[in-house]
Amino acid sequence: MATAERAVYAAQPSHPGSRHYGGIWSWVFTVDHKKIGILYGVTAFVFFMMGGLEALLVRSQLAVPNNTVVTGDAYNELFTMHATTMVFLALMPMSVAFFNIVVPLQIGARDVAFPRLNAFSYWVFLCGGLLINSSFIFGGAPDAGWFGYANLTELPYNHVTHGIDFWILGLQVLGVASMAGAFNFLVTIVNMRAPGMSFMRMPLFTWMTLVTSILLMLAFPVITVALIELMFDRFVGTNFFNPTAGADPILWQHFFWLFGHPEVYILILPAMGIVSDVLPTFSRKPLFGYPVVAYSGVAIGFMAWGVWAHHMFSTGLGPVADSVFSITTMLIAVPTGIKIFNWIGTMVGGSLRFSTPMLFAIGFIAMFVIGGLSGVMLASPPADWVENDTYFVVAHIHYVLFGGTMFGLFAGIYYWFPKVTGRMLDEKFGKIHFWLTMIGMNVTFFVQHMVGLDGMPRRIYTYPSGMGWDLPNLISTIGAFILAASVLVFLYNFASSVRWGTIAGNDPWDGRTLEWTIPSPPPEYNFKKIPIVHARDPFWEQKYPSAGGGHAIPAIAGAAHDAEESGEEEHIHIPDPSIYPFFAAVGFALTMAGLLVSSAPLTAGITTGIMIAPGASLPSWLSVVGLLTMLWGIYGWAFEPVSGY
């Protein structure tokens, strides 16, 4: 880490009655949102690279017809893990990294509402990711797709390995992490904004965090219910999704997509928030139509619940349901389009600086327009019947998730890296990274629109020659390797800039929002004095009062109290690190993992093949250990002396 950072993150001087830990332990037991954010970000990026490797194997297999790089079963595991990893272990946690690092700084707070819960979320996420990926060593990874349709996931059709069981339990663990985080950010944003910061004065990224948190809270229970039901089917012998017992496997699809569609908005809204903050900074103009952009995000959050069955147009829903969901899906394109026009409106009339964050933000708009348009093409059932379950959909999802979310996240990384580390990422390598990504993305995924319309199905491990699919697949594979190269460039930039990057200072970008008012990296307490906010883009208003920039909107009564109190000498209170969130998290994960271990007595040890003991009357020893650890962790957490300094 940079020297400047080391100085700040070094062990704080101990105060009587306070705790501190040195070295690696300061990371394990931290409750500081900035450190937790870094943990999230680094872990998520490691998982991103794993997902990328899985993708490279998938693309290598598909490079030529009748290929034999991997077997069909291995291929099914690879694309299942690629998607599961990218969605749950890379894109979502990377967004959470930004929620963590940036939101408290943007609202003028010293930390999140529940710092220990924050730490707990991270460790649960890490354990969940490890649990799902451990399936590779314990018999085989899940292989029924990231969407795990019943009844392919039921025991009669999926019992050779326990991949599905790892998937079920892993996702439930991850769900807890997501929901805990969502509660935290929701409460933080509602309650801890600096005096004068009404909702309409919040940075757009914070707004999108708010909407995403609500979506997370409401969507995860849906998938949790579905997973519990599937778990009971597989572990205990119930028949929630078993057609032989009279159940309807379509029920799973409804559950999954009722979760799944809000989930994709959970994936895109944070990136849209980042772009909405980056564009104004690099255009030197406020976000065009701020209230409309904020409200359209809220509208998308609402409408996300009404479109799920557009993933099911081929299941025989009937013409009425098909028509209704088609219309709701088309309507959700309206708020999305509004955002795009407002972003362009931000740039028009501005003074555009094409630093790397801006390049990625502009790239986001360009790529998301394509992804959004292919989405509209999917919204009409008769057209969808031509495109569904073909590579056309694969192209669509990657344009919105890679060209959209990932580009937005890269913009955020380049934008906020200086704030976190105190150093700048190298601009030259940044531009190389951007252009390689741009080229790689389009070479990989644009042809997939074509080959999908040429009839190529999804999720096939090979294809015959003579279909006309050979050349597009080869091109797509080449593009995937270009993307791999782009990631290497980024890694090099990241590693070298952390050590040797140019010192950034407080405000390297001439920013508009509060995070740029404090040192880089921020001191542990963030703000020496909690700022009083008078306008949207409060820092810009401070720097350029004559520009008419900061929009002074009257704060609504009750927006943030104690405006007068902030004038006094502040007693800064920082919570102490705590060991209990870590142990509670690990204990919880072990409890869940233990359900996968045979209920053989302790003396038998772990068998080399993890066995399920459905209907076991004794809980497995691993679960017992996990449960005890978790209970101890929670007890300690609850009764930990309130301290801090």
């Binding site: 309807d248 031509v386 350029y544």
Partner: protein
């Protein structure tokens, strides 16, 4: 306002990408590709592709407009040395209304043909001229039954040209998806559920279809063909399919018959006129007349048949038909027998 373009550095790579992407994408769809969905050769596919083309055309217009705006903004407003503080515009209500109403109007306009096409496509044809076929998806082959005509076959769906064919689609195990890209009819095959779809082929020919929903290890190998033929040829085919083959006289084929009827084969397959009446695997009564084998992944010729009989899971991972460790002699005899079942 004059558009000043002075070849900004940002634009040249963008142009290269745009050209490269276009060039690369033109490799996508040859008109002769057998599963090219944009080459509709039947009523259902045509109505779907017509709507697709309409939406695509509008999407292209929107794409050019929006990306054009973006490029304009990037070129026109890039920072120049003498730039002062740009005017801190906060928004423009009229513009907001315009770019809310116009997209909404376009979408509502698209909703109308959408709903009418849904109605047409889901109006399952009935009546005496309609051919009714029961489609059952199995891991990893397609069963086609013609209840009105007394025909049971697999992986090769014969239909008369110009006739509307009603499909009652179901699954025997997990969820599959039935689709013939050039004829239409995409619908999921779900256990315990009867999904209805229909297709029609304008011209005689062989059309390719496949399973489009992940269904396990050999999802990629679950293909089928549709043979559209004149009514006369179709009627003849039906008659041939209903006929019961006689016990073979050719010595090699007879040997194959004996191997077949005294081994595990009878546990899964049906061949009418023999003791083999099981319904787990495909009905092989007229397998000799098929164009393809093994879920349309192999050609129906002695080589490919031998390949299959030698090691079914080797051809189709996860195949429920096991490797029976047949000798070459046995394979040869079986091959002669099966090929005789025309």
């Amino acid at each position: 306002m004059v558009l000043r373009v002075r070849s900004p550095k940002i634009l040249s790579p963008a142009i290269i990408i745009a050209l490269a992407t276009t060039a690369v994408s033109l490799t996508g769809c040859a008109a002769t590709d057998p599963m090219n969905a944009l080459q509709p050769l039947g009523e259902v596919a045509r109505m779907e592709v017509n709507l697709f083309n309409l939406i695509f055309a509008i999407a292209v217009v929107v794409f050019v407009f929006v990306e054009g705006l973006l490029i304009y903004a990037v070129v026109r407003y890039r920072q120049r040395p003498n730039d002062g503080m740009p005017h801190q515009t906060h928004g423009h209500t009229t513009l907001e209304i315009i770019w809310t109403v116009i997209p909404a109007a376009i979408l509502i306009a698209l909703a109308v043909p959408t709903v009418t096409t849904i109605a047409s496509a889901t109006a399952i044809p009935t009546g005496p001229d309609v051919i009714n076929v029961k489609v059952v998806g199995h891991q990893w082959w397609w069963e086609f039954d013609y209840p009105g005509l007394g025909v049971v076959t697999s992986d090769e769906l014969h239909i008369p040209t110009g006739a509307r064919v009603e499909l009652d689609v179901e699954s025997a195990d997990v969820i599959h998806s039935f689709w013939v890209p050039q004829l239409g009819g995409k619908v999921q095959a779900i256990p315990n559920q009867h999904n209805h779809s229909w297709i029609e082929a304008d011209q005689a020919g062989t059309y390719h279809g496949q399973c489009y929903q992940l269904c396990g290890s050999s999802h990629a190998n679950m293909r089928f063909i549709v043979v559209a033929q004149s009514k006369a040829d179709f009627d003849k085919w039906v008659q041939d399919q209903k006929s019961v083959p006689a016990k073979p006289t050719d010595p090699e084929a007879l040997k194959g018959y004996q191997i077949f009827t005294t081994n595990a084969c009878v546990g899964c397959h049906t061949i009418e006129g023999t003791p083999a009446q099981a319904k787990i695997g495909p009905n092989l009564t007229h397998i000799g007349s098929h164009l393809t084998l093994a879920g349309a992944t192999l050609q129906n010729n002695p080589n490919d048949l031998a390949l299959w009989l030698h090691d079914p899971p080797g051809v189709k991972p996860g195949s429920i038909m096991p490797n029976l460790h047949l000798t070459n002699d046995q394979i040869q005899a079986l091959s002669a027998y099966l090929e005789s079942l025309k």
